[in-house]
Symmetry: D2
Subunit: 192 residues, 4 copies
């Protein structure tokens, strides 16, 4: 069975460098045999997680739509910015909403047994590396097999051409390699 990969950036910003980077990696996942769905958090505006909101009116519609996408895919390709050395609140918020069980549902159905690969892009010298430590740790703790290989792209504001593609061929191959590895890993582990 072809693995189904959901790809997204951990930022809603229109000119997000992470949106460009995840697109590059998604091309590699497709080349590696996966069906890739690329989504944008602009289409999933969620309120901040709030237990009172949840017990009052349930999981908000946009969060439920995002969760359903996680549920229906085998693996996740994520490029996420680093804010203050850690995860973006947008990404953490989406994970937290998606981790909430509907009545009668299995715990962490959107995450357990799934796969993920991580990338980050940043104008700085570390490329957002430290944010991925948090993302990796969270996903592992909720049952996701996170690929050891990852990519942190430093000086990302200079890395993309006007066509939105990585200018440097080696960097493009590296981003695509992450996507391809995720496709192959997911085919072995989940989509069987």
């Amino acid at each position: 069975m072809r693995p189904k990969i959901l790809a997204f950036a951990g930022s809603a910003r229109k000119e997000s460098l992470n949106k460009l980077l995840v697109r590059a990696a998604a091309a590699g996942a497709r080349a590696g045999g996966a069906d890739v769905t690329l989504v944008d958090f602009l289409e999933f505006p969620m309120p901040l997680y709030d237990g009172d909101l949840e017990s009052g009116s349930g999981i908000p519609a946009e969060a439920a739509r995002f969760k359903a996408l996680l549920v229906s895919h085998h693996g996740f390709l994520i490029s996420s910015p680093e804010y203050n050395s850690s995860i973006s609140p947008l990404l953490k918020n989406a994970f937290d909403w998606a981790s909430r069980p509907a009545p009668g549902e299995k715990t962490l159905v959107a995450f357990r047994g799934k796969t993920a690969a991580l990338l980050s892009a940043s104008p700085g010298d570390l490329g957002g590396l430290r944010g991925l430590v948090t993302v990796r740790s969270i996903l592992g703790n909720i049952g996701v097999f996170v690929l050891p290989d990852q990519m942190a792209l430093p000086k990302a504001h200079e890395a993309f051409g006007i066509d939105g593609a990585l200018k440097d061929e080696k960097l493009r191959a590296r981003a695509e390699g992450i996507g391809r590895s995720l496709a192959e890993f997911t085919a072995k582990v989940v989509a069987t």
Copy 2:
């Protein structure tokens, strides 16, 4: 000079156990000689951090108000829930907005050189311990002196009486001790 401590929970939930716990610790900080301002995130409803929003219309008013409170205090007393082994999006979001500089302002003026002490409350067996790892790491990385001593309260749903106070005297002393230690540490390090 008396140290000024800002105390808050990392949850907006009305019956948040962390709001009860931070209140207990705040009493200790007052007994330790600090002026304590206790605030509730219900009063600071912020949108999710978004770079486009910021460049379009600046820091939202509620985020700016919260940031101004951080700026005008020497130390922070924080009790925060653990969601999916890490920080709550509400707290991360508040930190990220507060880390954004106004024009001409010093980097991380709300955080650098300040102090903090951490607590967490959870119905589970670990008391929210793992969430504090993320909170501690973030605060340290943005220049806050975080007290090594912390308190993670397990089975927190059974820990408080109807008056909102910790029923067990030893636990109450422990929470107050965290607050008192923060007051004393802040008096030495910042408020001089």
Copy 3:
């Protein structure tokens, strides 16, 4: 191909609780279809890693023997104690020696693309949980696929019978389940 699993504890202590726990998990790995080699660090006494020692006389014989075992197996089943909230120096030392390349050898040949599952045993209430955070992070950073599921056994000094087996059936099933999951995961990911 049957997956080959190397199982060991991160302690050399004769009555190490982690040796008992890894043995329980190893039984599960065998039941899951793996060939399991159980080794004891008592048989691999290594000096502390020292760059001068390495450049003077190469990788010590015991370290080289341990590294060769890692190289010849597909996956690692590790039960490791927590010392001061982190990894044991014995285990970190073994990893560091094993990460040193022989002349002409591929980088991290003992680790890259391998699998691992983690357990810990401790007399305390957290079961050594915090030490596994470090172990997991290190292994992930050197290219090992670490199973998200892990087991931290609290009050471990009371958990084993005089036959060295876990007295509680549920705990035994849980330890065996970790081993079995590693066997199945390794069969899919590596041993193909």
Copy 4:
């Protein structure tokens, strides 16, 4: 009272770049009013921590000497290499031996309430940054106030002159600044 700072590198290597870096920082601590004792782990050769060794013959003499130095100082200035993204086994081993209580002694007497500042030097691009995450976390968990400011020196093999000093004046000022900050912080927090 003048603060007493113990300075050391987390490597025993004769030409350790971290020994050079901690020396630069030590100069800053002295300029900041501290009495600094600079020691070298070559003088403290310890066996790997082993519970059987400890219960059989107690804390080894070299470990006890190192622990006594920690006990008799208020703060620690540490420059430590990164091995496989984490702490060196030599440093972890020294911490673990020093954390063992002598009969009748207070828990963690060598660490609780002390201060520390961290540096790292590495030939790589990240300067050993990731190793400091582990070191910082461990020290915080055993009661040490770790200064938020730290220094990770990339390309460290090109950074020092034949006199062993940092060639770049800005880097030297930065290393000295870490030492000076530790001196001042320790004067406020501990040595009063």
